[in-house]
């Protein structure tokens, strides 16, 4: 038994070392920037970091404000772009950020981005509030219905995401979830690679009876959404906010927002498969360009 355990330990240790070398040499995972919670309770990245994308095809940068992407040359006629991992866009080169495509298409404006993966709608509005000091003309907020659901404690309480408690009428700021473990995981490239590689397949759906039908849950939440919008009207300048709905947004949700008299752009990918990566629902450079074209049409 001793010999067996010894050999297993040697094998695993050698495997981990070999795996780590391979993971780092071939950039099997992208590097993940470190976060902090700022003085307003918003999670943002520690400024001036840089790292590699998956495959090492390009680098990403965190600017001096703690957001991915470059800062504009000047802040006149400014439009802010706020969103989650779609806008954060670590999977594409720097040139494929929304702000770059929009600047090309609408040169009369300047653009700046403020994005972080996992941002909810209410958190995006909180960020927009901070950015109001730059006197932007418009805040473009890129979301879909999930970001609305994640904004409300009563629908799904998520401690790591900034949410609105509708009962208390109060913002509950997100907390960092296991930062120590995450730091180890992000730096142990091989383990992080395994985690990302098999994350989605850890759980298989359990067999269901033939009569069990799954329904879109958000359609039951329109009352909550109305309360959220009422709160937002009172606490944020929604006139300045344009909600850019991703192409995968449910049509019922899109219609609901239009009925609320909000500024909405519904992006349309016309089932163009090139919009997104094959094994990742995030947009490709092509998808970002197409999105920017549709947004610039609206801005004009």
């Amino acid at each position: 038994m001793k010999k067996f355990v010894k050999h297993i330990v040697y094998f695993l240790a050698l495997g981990l070392i070999l795996g780590e070398i391979i993971a780092r040499f071939f950039f099997l995972t992208s590097s993940i920037p470190e976060r902090r919670i700022d003085e307003f309770g918003i999670q943002r990245y520690i400024p001036n970091q840089e790292g590699y994308s998956k495959g090492g095809t390009h680098k990403w940068y965190i600017n001096s404000k703690g957001w991915p992407g470059k800062l504009p040359e000047n802040y006149d006629n400014l439009i802010t772009i706020i969103g989650d991992s779609f806008i954060e866009n670590f999977m594409n080169p720097d040139s494929c950020h929304q702000m770059n495509f929009l600047k090309e298409l609408a040169p009369e404006f300047n653009f700046t981005e403020a994005s972080r993966s996992g941002v909810s709608f209410i958190e995006a509005l909180e960020i927009s509030k901070q950015l109001d000091s730059l006197k932007p003309k418009v805040h473009l907020i890129y979301i879909n219905e999930t970001d609305f659901e994640e904004s409300i404690v009563q629908i799904n309480s998520l401690t790591d995401i900034t949410q609105l408690d509708l009962k208390k009428n109060k913002i509950v700021y997100g907390k960092m979830k296991a930062p120590g473990v995450k730091k180890i995981l992000y730096n142990w490239k091989f383990i992080f690679y395994l985690y990302r590689r098999f994350q989605s397949s850890f759980k298989l759906p359990k067999p269901t009876k033939s009569t069990e039908i799954t329904q879109n849950s958000f359609t039951n939440h329109f009352d909550y959404f109305e309360d959220l919008i009422d709160y937002c009207r009172k606490n944020y300048n929604l006139k300045k906010v344009v909600i850019v709905l991703r192409p995968d947004t449910d049509k019922q949700f899109s219609a609901f927002l239009q009925r609320q008299d909000l500024n909405v752009i519904q992006l349309d990918d016309s089932r163009d498969a090139d919009w997104s990566f094959e094994h990742d629902h995030h947009w490709t450079c092509y998808g970002h360009q197409k999105a920017a074209e549709q947004v610039s049409e609206y801005l004009k």
Partner: protein, 478 residues
């Protein structure tokens, strides 16, 4: 719990440590721990169905004891029937009830009478066909006085629910597995290393071969009307390797894990795609089920001892029942019937035991005759697999008709990744080289350490690299 899931990779080391380091001194405790961990393993999927296994265990244990005490033949037969009714009753309700109801409704509808058949809204308990057959083998052997019943309930419960082979076999005979629960297990380094090697090979078969073939199989069978005959042939070819990689991979993992715990399970697959005729194929494919049907159905029916009519009848019965065992669908019955039709000419010409040795056992490669025989046998099984995979019998026929149409190069499949063909080629070569062993890479143990470790790391890298969308083991649904 799936063998290729994260939960299992956590579960297995914990069970291994507790089994060898804590419970090893007391056999009863160790058997009890096997029962507990097996119930956790099974209950992870749905704990409610544990009651079925527990009830089945209790019934067969009690009947075994009563059979031993009872001398009157009539009473003994009644006890056997009770066991058959309970075990096959559960199987009938959970697996076949809806099939019979729907078939009756369809049959009446065909003759213009509409009847109201009420299907049950039930889930098929994972592995019910496997553990039912395993417990039945115990009762039948005790009834036939081939086996003395056990009075050790814990050992019997461990035999019924032994987690490595609980949900998808191999279907172990009580005569082989049960006695292993009565003697103290001693850890063997060689056995454990051999077990791990077989587990790695099983995972390779499942994750790299089967799951990557499944991607194209699902695509092609879902829209078979859109594809040309070449693509449909490729779809059937991939399914042949999907089902082989999936099921024999599961068996390899099950046997390998059992070795880690000091148990020796029977070989379930013996390189069936290198068979030279269908009879040889059935001696090499799902051996534990084929031999079960042979011993508990074919031979009691008279086997091949009677006249031609009896041989034909028995052959059809065994193949059709075997098909039906796989699932409550006419497609499986057609699959079984087709195999009976393949097998029958060999049986009638008394050529069914012509190829009992290993093909080209003294040579590197087969001769022309053997190659043609292997290809012809593979092709026949491939046609039958179409029905096994098709949604319905009519779809199966339609698929085959299209497969033989003349549009060989029209509208080929898009985004085809050629690497799967390369992987299959490597896989077939390794299987060929290892065909004399119990599993393909068993012989690697005689090679130098640096080669072995490089091979293992290579295998693991391939598993990580080619891990596709996780698919359930096909045989779970049976």
């Amino acid at each position: 719990m799936l063998f290729n899931s994260l939960e299992f990779f956590i579960f297995l080391p914990i069970v291994f440590v507790v089994y060898w380091f804590i419970t090893n001194r007391w056999l009863r405790l160790q058997n009890g721990f096997i029962v507990l961990s097996s119930y956790v393993f099974y209950g992870w999927w749905d704990w409610r169905f544990l009651s079925l296994i527990a009830f089945s265990t209790l019934v067969d244990f009690s009947i075994g004891i009563l059979l031993n005490k009872e001398e009157r033949e009539k009473r003994r037969r009644s006890l056997l029937w009770l066991s058959l009714i309970v075990n096959l009753g559960f199987l009938g309700i959970f697996k076949y009830y809806n099939f019979f109801v729907d078939s009756f409704v369809d049959a009446f509808s065909f003759f213009g009478r509409e009847i109201d058949g009420r299907s049950l809204d039930i889930i098929l308990p994972v592995g019910i066909s496997f553990y039912t057959f395993q417990t039945l083998s115990y009762t039948i052997d005790v009834y036939k006085r081939k086996l003395k019943p056990t009075s050790d309930f814990v050992a019997f419960a461990a035999f019924v629910c032994f987690f490595p082979q609980l949900v998808a076999g191999p279907i172990e005979r009580a005569t082989n597995l049960l006695p292993q629960f009565f003697s103290k297990r001693n850890f063997s380094y060689n056995l454990a290393i051999d077990g791990l090697r077989q587990v790695a090979w099983g995972l390779f078969k499942k994750i790299v071969i089967a799951d990557n073939c499944a991607k194209y199989v699902n695509l092609i069978f879902a829209d078979y009307q859109e594809f040309n005959s070449g693509t449909l042939l490729l779809g059937a070819f991939f399914f042949a390797f999907q089902i082989y990689g999936d099921f024999s991979g599961y068996s390899d993992i099950a046997i390998g894990i059992s070795r880690l715990f000091g148990f020796d399970l029977k070989q379930n697959f013996a390189f069936p795609y290198f068979s030279r005729d269908i009879a040889e194929f059935w001696r090499r494919w799902h051996i534990s089920l084929s031999t079960w049907f042979r011993d508990y159905l074919y031979i009691p029916l008279g086997g091949s001892r009677g006249g031609t009519a009896m041989k034909v009848r028995n052959t059809f019965i065994i193949f059709v029942v075997s098909g039906f065992w796989h699932g409550a669908n006419w497609t499986f019955i057609v699959w079984g019937t087709l195999n009976a039709l393949y097998f029958l000419p060999l049986l009638l010409a008394k050529r069914n035991r012509l190829n009992t040795d290993i093909v080209a056992s003294d040579r590197w490669y087969p001769n022309l005759k053997e190659s043609l025989q292997i290809l012809a046998t593979f092709f026949l099984t491939l046609i039958a697999w179409v029905f096994f995979r098709a949604k319905s019998v009519s779809v199966g026929f339609d698929y085959i008709v299209k497969m033989f149409s003349m549009q060989f190069f029209q509208s080929p499949i898009k985004d085809f990744d050629i690497s799967i063909l390369f992987l299959l080629l490597v896989f077939i070569l390794i299987e060929w080289m290892g065909r004399k062993s119990k599993y393909a890479i068993e012989g690697i143990s005689t090679l130098p350490g640096y080669f072995r470790w490089s091979f293992y790391f290579g295998l693991i890298i391939l598993i990580f690299t080619f891990t596709g969308e996780q698919q359930e083991f096909i045989y779970f649904q049976f």
